[in-house]
């Protein structure tokens, strides 16, 4: 905004800029011009003073709070007992009906736990019994989130591979779906490199990843390549290949199978789940883990997965490049 623009504005037009002025959200030039106006305009200065007073009052009366000690302990206990961080903890022990069968290991975490003071509810309830429903809640979350026919398998894999990777398959799937959702939001970017040409997308990842994802052209089958994106999942940078079908988006996440993982390479078959209305498919091939996520119908996503696994032999993939 130029100085002329500010100078030409009426006080009422400038009023909406006063809060951003106080918040430090105006660029330097605009800020300077507005400050000049404020020096010679009592009306705007008064408005500014009111805004400033309001900010002071809010900060005084809504101060930052300290988390109560018992909340801190509850959170720590819940984190440490979460199935995804404690693979040895079978989900069944998390049922509130069987608190006595909860393994010692899950209960001996905060040995110095004092009796909570301030909260009656806390004081009247042994902390272990309070923690158990949270475990149940976590398990229900998993169950609801899984909702698919491979839930048992996925969960077992989470428990089995959690020890080796530190990250359960459920957690990875959650992260994959969360990343898919993020990529669709207007404030985020869907692709870092926009191209329907796989010979543009594939080299784009060079130097950004320590592996080279296979990029297939499936435009002839109704899945157009939109582009690629660098993402971060399961504790490492991964390739996100973005395909479109109609108005729907498919994110295909690819990264190398962790050689240290207990189940590395053992999941060549495709497993499928639905989560929060999104279909998710996972498989390993060529040393890579693949996750496909989309809101397209399950049969469409299955078709997509089949095509990625066995790309059609067509001019698009087999002929020498025309350019």
């Amino acid at each position: 905004m130029t100085s002329d623009a500010i100078a030409a504005m009426t006080c009422d037009q400038l009023a909406p800029m006063l809060d951003p002025f106080l918040d430090g959200e105006l660029d330097a030039a605009t800020r300077r011009q507005l400050a000049e106006h404020l020096e010679r305009c009592p009306r705007c200065a008064d408005r500014l003073a009111r805004s400033r007073a309001l900010g002071v009052a809010i900060r005084e009366q809504c101060p930052a709070l300290s988390a109560p000690d018992d909340l801190r302990r509850r959170v720590q206990a819940a984190i440490r007992q979460d199935p995804s961080t404690a693979p040895s903890l079978s989900p069944s022990v998390a049922l509130p009906a069987a608190p006595s069968s909860t393994p010692r290991a899950a209960l001996d975490d905060p040995p110095t736990l004092p009796h909570p003071r301030s909260r009656q509810r806390s004081a009247s309830t042994p902390w272990a019994r309070r923690a158990v429903p949270w475990l149940a809640a976590a398990t229900v979350l998993l169950a609801v989130g899984g909702g698919g026919w491979t839930l048992g398998t996925a969960h077992e894999r989470a428990l089995a591979s959690g020890a080796a990777r530190g990250i359960g398959a459920d957690a990875v799937r959650d992260a994959v779906v969360a990343s898919h959702l993020r990529s669709l939001e207007a404030t985020n970017h869907l692709v870092d490199v926009v191209s329907s040409d796989r010979h543009t997308v594939k080299p784009w990842f060079d130097g950004k990843l320590d592996f080279s994802p296979t990029v297939v052209d499936l435009a002839g089958d109704g899945f157009r390549l939109i582009g690629g994106r660098l993402d971060y999942l399961a504790g490492r940078p991964v390739a996100a290949l973005v395909y479109g079908r109609g108005r729907h988006v498919i994110n295909l996440f690819v990264w190398p199978i962790d050689p240290g993982s207990a189940d590395g390479g053992a999941h060549a078959a495709v497993t499928g789940t639905a989560m929060r209305g999104y279909n998710v498919r996972q498989w390993d091939a060529g040393g890579m883990t693949h996750w496909a996520v989309s809101d397209v119908a399950a049969p469409d996503l299955d078709a997509f997965v089949r095509l990625v696994r066995q790309p059609p032999v067509s001019p698009a993939t087999s002929a020498p490049e025309p350019r």
Binding site: A78, L141, T187
Partner: protein
């Protein structure tokens, strides 16, 4: 031994509790929401790309609180802070409640807590947590322009609600130039 997750996210427990406490206006609800949010954060942590862990956590806390409130509203079949219901009451068209005639320890906080959720959260993230418009936009998942307009409307409501108490102090401010 603290895990990477604990090291990154546990230090922000106070901030998480503060946001939840003001968003939910109930201490026990806030505690439950914070614990819930940490469990969710634990699951999402593999997708955390680094950067501001506090903002990342607050995003989850905020979403957890929203989910709880929505569920609560459905259960209770009430909508006590519905935007449309409240705007005519809090606007300057209606007489101000007597409680706003003085700066008491409760009035400004009450006014903040009476704001519709969409307004309250941006005010809290700005004034209490000190985030920039861009950061608030990332937490609340709206464009910066929306953050600006929500903040502006929220503050206008607060100014209207608190006019008798805030204005006199402000206009006598020697820096205010309103001599």
């Amino acid at each position: 031994m603290p895990t990477a997750f604990e090291a990154a996210v546990l230090p922000h427990l106070d901030a998480a509790y503060t946001l939840a406490r003001y968003l939910l206006r109930d201490d026990e609800d806030a505690r439950d929401a914070v614990q819930d949010a940490y469990l969710r954060a634990l699951r999402y942590f593999p997708g955390f790309r680094g950067g501001d862990a506090r903002a990342w956590l607050l995003t989850i806390v905020r979403n957890t609180c929203r989910t709880r409130r929505r569920r609560e509203r459905v259960t209770a079949r009430t909508a006590p802070f519905d935007d449309d219901l409240h705007s005519p009451i809090e606007s300057d068209a209606a007489p101000l409640p007597p409680a706003y005639d003085h700066i008491g320890d409760v009035s400004v906080r009450d006014a903040v807590e009476r704001l519709p959720e969409e307004f309250r959260e941006v005010v809290l993230l700005r004034e209490v947590h000190g985030y920039s418009y861009r950061e608030i936009g990332e937490i609340v998942r709206v464009p910066v322009g929306t953050v600006m307009s929500r903040l502006s409307r929220a503050r206008q409501r607060l100014r209207d609600a608190l006019a008798p108490s805030v204005t006199p102090t402000a206009s006598r401010d020697p820096d205010g130039a309103a001599v």
